[in-house]
Amino acid sequence: MANYIGQAIKRVEDKRFITGKGKYTDDIVLPGMTYAYMVRSPFAHAKINSIDTSAALAMEGVVAVFTGKDIAESGVNGVPCGWQVNFKNGDTMKEPPHPLLVADKVRHVGDAVAMVIAEDRATAKDAAEAIVVDYEVLEAVVDAAKAVEPDAPLVHDDVPKNMCFDWELGDKAATDAAMASAHHITTLEFTNQRLAPNAIEPRAAIGHYEEANDKYTLYTTSQNPHLTRLLLCAFVLGIPEHKVRVVAPDVGGGFGSKIFHYTEEALVTWASRRLNRPVKWTAERSESFVTDAHGRDHVTRAEMGFDAEGKMVGLRVKTLANLGAYLSTFAPCVPTYLHGTLLQGLYTTPAIHVDVTGVFTHTTPVDAYRGAGRPEATYLLERLVDTAAHEMNMDPAELRFKNFIPPFDGVNQPGYQTQVALQYDSGNYEAVLKRALEMLDYEKVRKEQAEARKNGRLIGIGFSTYIEACGIAPSAVVGALGARAGLYESAQVRVQPTGKVSVYTGSHAHGQGHETTFAQVVADKFGIPMEDVEIVHGDSESVAFGMGTYGSRSLAVGGSAIVKSIEKVIEKGAKIAAHKLEAAVDDLEFAGGKWTVKGTDKSIAFGDVALTAYVPHDYPQGLEPGMDFSSFYDPANFTYPFGCHIAVVEVDPETGKVELKRMVACDDVGNVINPMIVDGQIHGGLAQGIGQALFEEVIYDESGQLVNGSYMDYTMPRADDLPMFETDRTVTPCPHNPLGVKGAGEAGTIGSTPAVVNAVVDALSHLGVRDLEMPLTPERVWRAMNK
């Protein structure tokens, strides 16, 4: 029995999804439910002179209309920011309020000014159209570089130059000196463009206040229901936490965009008490585009210095990070501590300095999107390395081998201390590049490329060797860096009297397959069938607490918390087993689902011990009955997955269209519990990373209109845009968590983007093309090659 870890077990959650029985937030209908529709600003920046709701209120079926004035008068707060980054001079970052409904001035297209609640969705929408808002349109600024100019319009009157913070990391003097004496410097200036996360399930929330119990339930599309409850109760509505249950049922993808506490969650909760009826809000896709936090949007200048042998001597980076109109929950940490701290990459660069300025603009807030800061760091590093290789006439793989940090396992060799605060846990960077080159058959593909070029065909090969910091994070460390939350995870393991096991985890699955992976771990550790294990998540009433799922942390942090509770069960079980077997605890071993007296055939099964714990007639003296343990796990360090992605592309010389012919990925995510699920995570990540390279970009015009805010206009990869992916792994276990796992959710997205761009530049390098702005649309590529 049992030996689930490492096996490609089919997912236990699939049955409900393939039969149409998943239960997503919008699927829930409660008795007496009403429907909310938001009136949103069509302007990026405008003063609200007046709002006339009378026509809407007069419509049949309209239950209520609330405006920013109602919200202001009710005394509730706006949604808070969960991370503080200080100015270089020590001043606290600028943190303007983000009200639930705006009363005075709108600051981005989609800013909500009123909420209509009606008996049905269509009536709510009709009534919203009957609300007349008198706006005085003001000049807007959407571009981070323009927002810091002296005469730029201000997003918030009390935030000079629209600067939220300025921040730096690394040794500036040492870096400047290294760059001054460098033999060669490669410089790139580019925009890492704004992206829309676009989980296919739009956000939704249902507030349900029950007067009889004075209790609230919020159903919401969240990656972290407990965090939402904490922010909602303690910071926004000021209601006692024990009066609020937050449920995140099946959630249709998140990619970061469902981490954050959004205004609509608070609004439906607040309104349900006002009306004493359930209130449901479901975003339309066009609303998602203007209200789900966006990702990326960095304007960067990056320089990498080399000595005469091609060894990296210095890295200097300056970035303007567009934060949008308000601070979303974790916005300030993304361009700073999730970006600047990753600039060591896989290389031994001895001097690094990064300077980041966070800027407000009249755009949708920007926050963590799959990878969050690490894709931006990897993009600039890996574009610099391939560009430098071209400039120095070196092979890009060779240049990487020359500069890699040598292998270290974190046990026999210490972790690697970077120049930018982090200490990598374990790594073998040469191995992933070597394996990826084998998978690609590098020499052969280079020959084919040369041959094709003679025939006028444009084939390119692009590399990316990346590292990321996952499994966030040690609470004390992130606290010191400005986090206003701890970043541990909780798990309760309840062994039922019959030996069946219920596990309550604070992690949340929205596609990751926790119900399978976590059950594999539990079943193996107890030596019981997987069918005897259930994984419960997503409900603050059943799960004690949780920090949720983001930053590829579920298995590394949430899984470790489960292991801690499992160990407590086994320790207690041993006492019961010793009593029953009339042996000393030290003489027992636990394996294969039973405790055995070493060297004998005397044993007692897990289920019998569980039953004894609940029917403690013949029981160790002084031992409590029951078999139910909770644990909190606070990691000792981040985890550091790494890998190598190689793209092979062909560019159509007539049209500039890029065909991605091959995508090779060799990733090292530490130990693997379910290789099928890990491969799936890598595939999806690759697709999103390729999407950024080739297709995706949120485009604002100068007045702040989001001009491609629909699925007809915003291009995401479709099935026929992508090849079959070629994936493999090396395994370098994480030395500091009990499962040795590092996390796999973001790896694909982080590594793939620069590989694809590097490949296209490589295909066109002989035509004088040195850099291209993402996304690499046919028009951009064609213009570059025909310059």
Binding site: I18, T19, G20, A199, P202, F255, G684, A719
Partner: protein, 156 residues
């Protein structure tokens, strides 16, 4: 005043008076409470709402409920028969063709149409047939394999 319609959904006949502007997808979800059919966009671009109307895969957000009068409709809930999963449902499970599950019903209903038209499609034909359906989780790799799995099963 509503428009009277009679539709057969997953073998069961329903009669309702519907608002003239009610979309078929809202009828299925809100009136019949068949919530396996999902809504992912408002421009008929994502395919999450795909169902079969008179044997053809249709995005149910592109059609009014009133237009479905007299139609035979199959949704994801009606695809399995006698407790036996459809080979596509099995294929998606076997090949890990889904993660969050939100696009899955539409993907499966679209793929069912493909296999009805073309029982042994090539990889390129599968990818082309899925052009109207977005998935943000899988990168389509395992969806293609899932459909190949089902095709092989149906042809064996």
């Amino acid at each position: 005043m509503g428009i009277p319609i009679q539709v057969t959904v997953n073998g069961k006949t329903h009669q309702h008076e519907v608002d003239s502007r009610l979309l078929l997808v809202h009828y299925l979800r809100d009136v019949l409470r068949l919530t396996g059919t999902h809504i992912g966009c408002d421009t008929s671009s994502c395919g999450a709402c795909t169902v079969h109307v008179n044997g053809l895969a249709v995005k149910s957000c592109t059609m009014l409920a009133a237009q479905a009068d007299g139609a035979e409709i199959t949704t994801i809930e009606g695809l399995a028969s006698n407790g036996e999963l459809h080979p596509l449902q099995e294929g998606f499970r076997e090949e890990h063709g889904l993660q969050c599950g939100f696009c899955t019903p539409g993907m499966i209903m679209t793929a069912a149409q493909l296999l009805a038209d073309n029982p042994q499609p090539t990889e390129a034909e599968i990818r082309h047939a899925l052009e109207g359906n977005y998935c943000r989780c899988t990168g389509y790799h395992n969806i293609v394999k899932s459909i190949q799995h089902a095709a092989n099963k149906l042809n064996s």
